[in-house]
């Protein structure tokens, strides 16, 4: 690769740390966020190891409580929320809409530094006695515990700004920088998804910021807001927290859905079914997602009327998600389907996200939720949606755009083996947890009754299968960066704009401003040669 591209020009560490190129910032994020993913994964493996059998296996209850808090907080705030928008969104959004960069490149770089700073503050809490509150920081426990709650919440508070800046940047970019001829309904669906996500990021994140700040003020200054011992209201915290954190699960899943639309269209080589339905259901989910936070609180003592309204609205968030799934399946009809690794991730997503969505129906039903609330059923549901959904989509997207990022292809056979291991391991780990939860096993338990041991043991073994899959993935992806076979500009034969420029792209993406000659999914009229 003698050609000049964004990777090799300009050179030097300074040119990377001060870069304003959205593609380089995407890679900086890739580095930071994958480090967080690795850490969160190690915490998860340690948790599953301890849960192999009841009682103390490796460490004590305090350590266990700190580990599950770290696992949750790192995975949510440092990994999943930024993962797709900040890595893949940053890298491909301007390419997909035919722009030179995002609207505010300096703000983009600033948001990466804020991400790094916020992450370091959050991880600093490990040294000062990691928080043991769970990632939900429920009061009054979080006000009273002696662990380092302030560092962790302050970290999450700072990370919020990174998220807001990215969202703001994307909204403006999508409004102002689309290539000539790209109308709203000519945009790739990933762009629609990023747009819907950005709206939630900008509107909901400040509420989390305020909530965490109030918690910090309560701990530092002793002003009673949530702690009943000081005249506060602990349930108020739950309302505040979920007012952000429920929309936040849509910050996590919507961009994943966007990726799935791209993958299925590309690898089925088929016009996407129900383009507008998918685009509008993203906006519908973003809007309705703001109105369901109370479904986390059906047994908190909130009024029956509130519970009824929240349950009702919750079900109506399910409908647009269901519509998307049906549209994706319908897209496969009469396609020309290939089974490259990204497509295997998309198919895994379809199965796992469907299970995740359907098990959400149990939890939305008031009477059934009373039994399942705060058990492993919730843990399993959450992981099916977040890991089976978002992480599978993220990995699918990573494999899809990896040749575009580096100009090199990974080993496709190892990629297929890895996705198979992750799929099997994931189901072993988490499907068992649905059964555990239905049988009454509460979450966040360091110790448990003997009757739950076989299922816990099986779940732990599943986590090892998954880990093997991830190790293989790390090896072949990193290998590809240095030794991979050179990839052409369009290895998958896709029709969106990012595949019309060389891999890796030039500094300002396109030799000249691209002209749109066809829609993103016109596979019925256009064939792009695979190069």
């Amino acid at each position: 690769m003698a050609s000049i591209n964004y990777l090799n020009e300009p050179k030097g560490i300074k040119s990377w740390l001060l870069t304003l190129d959205h593609k380089r910032i995407g890679l900086l994020y890739l580095f930071g966020i994958m480090t967080a993913f690795f850490l969160g994964g190690v915490f998860a493996m340690l948790l599953r190891l301890e849960l192999l059998s009841p009682g103390k296996d490796f460490f004590d209850a305090d350590t266990y409580n700190q580990l599950f808090t770290l696992h949750g907080a790192v995975m949510i705030f440092l990994f999943i929320i930024p993962s797709i928008p900040a890595i893949l969104g940053n890298f491909v959004l301007p390419l997909m809409i035919g722009a030179k960069d995002v609207a505010f490149p300096r703000l983009n770089l600033a948001s990466w530094y804020i991400y790094v700073f916020g992450s370091l503050v959050a991880l600093y809490s490990i040294i000062t006695g990691a928080a043991d509150t769970g990632w939900t920081f429920y009061t009054p426990y979080s006000t009273q515990t002696g662990t380092s709650v302030i560092a962790m919440t302050l970290g999450a508070f700072i990370l919020g700004f990174s998220s807001i800046f990215t969202g703001l940047n994307f909204i403006v970019t999508i409004h102002k920088l689309r290539a000539p001829g790209m109308t709203w309904f000519n945009m790739p669906l990933f762009v629609w998804a990023l747009y819907a996500t950005a709206i939630i990021q900008v509107l909901a994140t400040p509420v989390l910021g305020i909530t965490l700040l109030l918690l910090i003020i309560e701990r530092v200054a002793g002003i009673g807001i949530f702690d009943p011992a000081m005249g506060g209201d602990p349930v108020l915290f739950q309302h505040f927290f979920w007012f952000y954190s429920h929309p936040a699960v849509y910050i996590m899943i919507l961009p994943g859905m966007g990726i799935i639309s791209e993958l299925i269209a590309t690898f089925a080589h088929k016009r996407i079914f129900g383009y507008k339905a998918i685009a509008f259901s993203s906006l519908g989910i973003a809007f309705a997602g703001f109105l369901v936070w109370g479904h986390h609180m059906f047994v908190s003592g909130q009024s029956e009327l509130a519970a009824m309204i929240f349950s009702f609205l919750t079900f109506f968030v399910g409908i647009p998600s269901g519509i998307k799934v049906f549209n994706w399946v319908a897209t496969l009809y009469k396609g020309s389907i290939s089974f490259e690794a990204p497509m295997l991730y998309a198919l895994s997503f379809l199965i796992l996200f469907t299970i995740g969505g359907l098990t959400g129906i149990f939890l939305g039903a008031l009477s059934v939720d009373v039994h399942l609330h705060d058990t492993y059923f919730v843990v399993a549901h959450f992981h099916y949606v977040m890991m089976g959904g978002t992480v599978m989509a993220f990995l699918g997207g990573l494999h899809y755009w990896w040749p575009k990022m580096w100009g090199r292809m990974y080993n496709r056979l190892w990629a297929r083996i890895s996705v198979a291991l992750i799929f099997v391991g994931f189901n072993m780990t988490f499907f068992t947890q649905f059964i555990l939860g239905a049988k009454g096993m509460p979450r966040r338990y360091y110790n448990y009754l003997d009757q739950y041991q076989p299922l816990h043991g099986f779940s732990s073994v599943g986590s090892w299968v998954m880990a093997v899959g991830f190790v293989i993935m790390a090896v072949y992806l990193i290998h590809a960066i240095f030794r991979g076979r050179p990839a052409g500009s369009n290895p998958w034969g896709a029709l969106t704009l990012e595949w019309t420029t060389p891999s890796p792209p030039l500094h300002e993406n396109f030799p000249q401003t691209p002209k749109l000659t066809h829609g993103p999914y016109d596979y019925d009229t256009v064939t792009a040669p695979m190069t």
Binding site: A61, V299, G301, G335, L366, V368, V370, A438, D524
Partner: protein
């Protein structure tokens, strides 16, 4: 009688449980059908339409109004059924029958206390009569806890500074697990109690016996029982291993090091103070997490516990 009403749920033990299970099963079976439709369609398409050679253009089908109406309308009807069904049972769970027996439930790190209308009280073991509605008035003394009996399908948070209410009616005698399901710190997973459902007659006897508890029993022997009953065993072992709190084994008659740098001998008064005012003296290496038992133990019970701890000295 112990019929399992679902593949996954524990056996039903309360009047409300079969109603919850019926909806659980409805969602389960409908969900399985929907899942099979999605998965089998996907499988069929990816096999039937797999790529055989380099492809040209493909079909441009991107709409089907009847299909799109169907896959919007059918799930909407299904979730409306689920919503109303769930709401109906939830309302039943929240309307307490008038003749219910009221028991005050107090959660604190890391045990439950139950106060009965006749003045009896118990720790970590809720005794209730079968076939009679029981109303629980819950609150917490420190952080949020949650009262969960899987077999009864009942769960309610216990929140500090406020009361929450739930109720249930046991349908069969037996012992049922009681879990705390709101994370409450180090001893969260040890905060496991029992619900003992007994006949009305046994319940009356138990209340009667409760007021005469420990009479005619040697103090030391009574102390053994109280050690479990008052949930000392959640944090204090008797086998010498350290847990959340110092072990009782070999404690009496020795000196302990305190966090304020002094040493005190463990005698009767030290133990009495540690039970009634646990924050007064903290042994080094342990957190000041023990709640006060002021008002929760009678004098004779204190004597019994002291006698028991004494018996564990070596």
């Amino acid at each position: 009688m112990d019929t399992t009403s679902s593949l996954f749920l524990p056996p039903a033990g309360s009047t409300i449980a079969p109603e919850v299970d019926a909806l659980f099963n409805f969602i389960l079976y409908t969900g399985v059908i929907l899942f099979l439709i999605v998965t089998l369609a996907t499988l069929w398409f990816i096999i039937r339409y797999r790529r055989r050679a380099r492809t040209g253009t493909t079909s441009g089908i991107a709409h089907s109004t009847p299909l799109e109406i169907a896959w919007t309308a059918i799930p909407t009807v299904l979730i409306l059924i689920v919503f109303f069904w769930g709401f109906k049972t939830y309302i039943k769970m929240n309307i307490v029958p008038k003749d219910a027996l009221e028991i005050k439930v107090t959660g604190q790190r890391w045990f439950w206390t139950f106060d009965y209308p006749e003045g009896a009280s118990s720790t970590n073991e809720l005794v209730i009569p079968v076939g009679k509605p029981v109303k629980l008035l819950l609150s917490s003394k420190d952080v949020i806890h949650s009262f969960f009996v899987p077999d009864f399908r009942v769960k309610m948070d216990a929140v500090p500074n406020r009361y929450t209410i739930t109720w249930f009616e046991a349908t069969r005698a037996g012992e049922f697990n009681l879990f705390c399901t709101e994370y409450c710190g180090k001893g969260h997973s040890e905060m496991i109690g029992k619900v003992k459902a007994v006949s009305e007659r046994e319940y009356a006897d138990w209340l009667e016996a409760g007021s005469r508890a420990g009479e005619g029993v040697p103090l030391e022997e009574y102390g053994v029982k109280l050690y479990v009953k008052k949930a000392c065993n959640t944090c204090h072992t008797v086998d010498g291993s350290a847990s959340v709190a110092p072990t009782f084994k070999g404690l009496f008659g020795h000196e302990v090091f305190l966090t304020n740098g002094t040493r005190v001998p463990v005698d009767e008064n030290y133990i009495r103070e540690s039970i009634l005012n646990p924050q007064a003296k903290i042994v080094t290496g342990f957190q000041p997490v023990m709640p006060t038992y002021q008002g929760l133990v009678k004098d004779r019970e204190l004597d019994a516990l002291i006698a028991y701890i004494k018996s564990l000295q070596q």
